[in-house]
Each structure stands twice: as structure tokens, then as C-alpha cells.
């Protein structure tokens, strides 16, 4: 792996550089007016400016707040319900049909209902994020918990673990790889959903910034939130990867 990393890196950089060059070329040669497609230099300068600006940071903070709170709710509910459904037949019988029905429904269709119920500020966005991120976490927890090696549970029971404790002493840790995969997906979905929700209907946040810039035809300002959300996604992904490596120290790499 190490020997090929430099090669992979150079290969991977090429499309990004190419697109950058293409972008610059299109603007420089006048194929697109700067009002429609500002040159990359301008965009990134603007981004750097904004990143230290208070207004921008306040908007980003609002987005991050909704993102993390929504995600946290989805994690707690998803893992909780997923585990319970995997071990308890009664819970399973109720949860599975509900998930089967609700999972394919685009939760964003519920957004108007949430707006009506919870208002136009943080709560409706947090609820939407939670609703969207819930399902992958729940599904992967359920899958992970149902497919753990039965003998692990038996070993724990024989060692004197009371049956009630098996859930968090054995099932949860054993299902952790699967759970974390679901959480990663849920995290990306949270990024996407919070941004969209803010675009559709909000008075603050990164998504709102995009819409505001669009309305005033400030093309450069439109790119800034987009790049921000992409960067945010990458950073969160990297952080998650580190967290995963620590949490799954003992597990063989699958």
C-alpha cells in the first residue's frame, strides 16, 4: 500500500487540477461571463475572506449546531431502537414494518409539516436531520446486532452475565463495526439535509447564504457555501475515520 500511495495521490490530484485548469480557462477565454462563472482565484479568495468574517462564522455555527444536534438524536435513537429490535422479538415485530414503510419515503417531503409543527428556526431543521439520519443508523445497528456471533453471547452468559446486561456488554460492542458504518452514512446525510433545509426555508445558516447570494446574483458568494459544505463533509469524514480506528482497535479489518 505504501509504495503505491504517491502514485495514487498524483493520479487523484489530476482530475482536480484538470477541472481547476478548465475552470480557469473557461473564464479566461471568455466562454462564460464572470457573472455566471467567476474565476477560481476570485472564489477562493472570497472563501478565505469569509472564513474569518463574523457573519459567515455565525451562519456556519447555526448550520453546525443543527447538524450535530440532529445527528446526535439520530445516533441515540437509531442505536437504541436498532439494538432493541435485534434482541427483542416484540420490538422487532413493531419496528420492522414501520421501517419498511418509512425508509423509502423522502423525509424532506415532511419538511413542510415540520415547519408547521416546529416553526421556522432550529427545531424543524434539527428534526429533519434527525429523521433522515435515523434510518441508516437504525438499519446498520439492527443488521450488526442480529448477525453477531451467538457464541459470544453464550460465553458471556456462562461467565455469569445477567441476561439484561448482555445487550450493552456484548451485543453493542460486537455490533460496533456495523454501527459505525451506519453512523458515517448518517453523518454525511446530516450534512446534506441541513444544507438543503436551510436552502428551502431558513433565515440563517450556510444553505441560507447560498440562496441569499443567488437572489442578489452574487455568483462568487454562491460558491462559498458550496465549497464550505464540501470541506465540512471532508473534515467530518476524516475525523470520523480517526474515531473509528480508535474504537475498533481490536477488530480485524474486514
Amino acid at each position: 500500500m505504501r509504495a503505491t500511495f504517491p502514485r495514487d495521490f498524483t493520479l487523484g490530484i489530476i482530475p482536480i487540477l484538470l477541472i481547476g485548469a478548465l475552470w480557469q480557462a473557461i473564464v479566461a477565454y471568455g466562454y462564460a461571463p464572470p457573472s455566471l462563472l467567476p474565476p477560481p482565484g476570485q472564489v477562493f479568495t472570497r472563501l478565505a475572506q469569509q472564513l474569518v468574517g463574523l457573519d459567515y462564522l455565525a451562519q456556519a455555527a447555526a448550520t453546525l449546531l443543527r447538524l450535530f444536534v440532529g445527528f446526535a438524536i439520530a445516533v441515540v435513537l437509531g442505536i437504541g431502537i436498532g439494538l432493541m429490535a435485534a434482541v427483542h422479538r416484540g420490538v422487532d415485530a413493531v419496528v420492522r414494518p414501520l421501517v419498511r414503510v418509512l425508509a423509502p419515503v423522502p423525509k424532506v417531503a415532511l419538511y413542510p409539516a415540520l415547519l408547521l409543527l416546529l416553526g421556522f428556526d432550529h427545531a424543524s431543521k434539527i428534526a429533519l436531520v434527525a429523521a433522515d439520519a435515523l434510518f441508516p443508523i437504525l438499519l446498520s445497528t439492527y443488521y450488526g446486532a442480529s448477525t453477531i456471533e451467538k457464541k459470544l453471547v453464550w460465553s458471556a452468559l456462562a461467565a455469569g452475565t445477567p441476561p439484561r446486561q448482555v445487550l450493552y456488554k456484548v451485543v453493542l460492542p460486537a455490533a460496533l463495526p456495523s454501527i459505525l458504518t451506519g453512523c458515517r452514512i448518517g453523518l454525511v446525510i446530516s450534512c446534506i439535509v441541513v444544507f438543503l433545509a436551510e436552502m428551502i426555508s431558513s433565515t440563517d445558516g450556510l444553505g441560507y447564504l447560498l440562496v441569499r447570494a443567488a437572489r442578489s446574483f452574487q455568483t462568487v458568494d454562491m460558491f462559498v457555501p458550496l465549497i464550505s459544505i464540501s470541506l465540512l463533509g471532508l473534515v467530518l469524514n476524516a475525523l470520523f475515520y480517526c474515531a473509528r480506528r480508535v474504537l475498533l482497535r481490536g477488530f480485524p479489518e474486514v
Partner: protein, 269 residues
Amino acid sequence: MSAVAGEGGARRGFSIGPFTPLFACLGLLVVWQIGAMLLATDSIPTALEALRAVPDVLGSRDGLVNILDSIRRMAIGLSAAVVVSIPLGLVMGRLRAVAAFFNPILMVIYPVPKAALMPIIMLWLGVGDLSKTLVIFLAVTLPIIYHAFEGAKAVEEKMIWSGMAMGMSRVEILARIVLPAALPEILAGCRTGLVLALITMVTSEMIARKSGTGNILFNALDMGQYDTVFAMIIVIGALGIVLDAAFDRLRRLLVAWAETRQDIPLSFT
């Protein structure tokens, strides 16, 4: 803890009856009804009121046209994405250089909600069908590429070697060995793609209000026609469920030979 600490040798039933999802729907509607009656605000109609508004929405010319427009855009975006993404993903799965080439740029694009590209794309391509279809296309390509990539990567070397020994060309091997072998994984990606297409369709219409289901939704919201809002939610929800069920049928048909891993797939919204 009976289900996990295997008792009496009984196998855990992994199939749910065909009617249980129906019961789940009914259950949800009942909860909605009761909740709405308890809340007793104008802005949240009861389930019955919303259901009564559904035929109005579907029956009205305007409503029907909007919905059909939506479906049409989604279908085009989906098909185009499938045609492009599957080959790309397969090639990426088998040729490391290609994977290394595309991977970073895909990772950069991944967290960006494609519907968020709407305002920019609208500037370039206007508010019509093309911008929305393009956005759906972009949204769907990513999961399909990823799944095709993973599926192709996982194909056993020995199967490929058999093909080579039989004198098949690289392209033939890709089409006749790798593709079928990776099909279960690809179809899982398509299922995700379907869900994403639906979401992107609705959100792109919510952002570029000109036609479509998202448009009806927010128009009705703006005009205070709350019955219509919820009726539309039911319609979109039903659309999602029906499409997903139909796709699952198709998937089972196509890959009946694959060992069934599990009943509930890891589909994400």
C-alpha cells in the same frame, strides 16, 4: 433477550407477513389522526382531511401535470445515471489506476447536496427541466458508481482468470463476468440511487419553484392550503414506497441466484 440467546433451536423468522406494512401504515395514520385532533390547530389537518384532499390533487389537471413532470424528470435522470455510472464503477473496481484517478474528486463532490447546486445550475441553464434533470443525474451517479466499484472489486480473481483462459477480451470479461457477479451490489446501489433521485427531485422543485411535486407542496404552504400540503406529502410518500417496492421485486427477480444476505437492505435516504 430470548431472540439472541438462541433458544429451542427455532430459527429466527426473517420474513414479515405481506400485510404487516399495511398495518404499519394504518397505525401511522391513526397516530396522525389522534395527534392532529389533540393539537387542534388549523395548520395541522387530520389524516382524514388530508386523505380527502388527495383525490383533489391527483384529479386536478394542474396537480397531475406537475406530478407527471416530476416522475418524468426523475426517470430520465435515473436512466442516464445508471447508463453512465455502472460501466465507470466497474472499470474503477478492476483498474486501480482509474479508481485512484476518480476517487478524490468523487469524495469532494459526495458531501455536497446535489440539489444545492440548483441555484448555480439555474443561472446557467435556466429554471426548466434540464437543470432539475441534471441535478438528479448528478445525485444518482455517486451511489451507483460507489456500489458498482465495490461490487466489481469483490469479484473473485479466479472467475476472471477463467474468463481469460477462455480467451475473452477485457471488455468481454467486464460485461459477461464482472457485471453479473457484481449485480447484487449494483442493484443495492440502484436502490439507494432511486431514493436519492426521489429526494433530489422533490428538493430541486422546492428550490426552483416552477413545476413538480415540491412546487405544489410549497405553493400550498405559502397559500395556507394545509390540506393540500399534507395530501401532497401522502402522495410523495406513497410514490416513494411504491417505487421502492417495485424496485425490490425487480431486484429479487434479477438476482434470485445470489445468497440472500438480509431482508432489510442498508438503503440510505
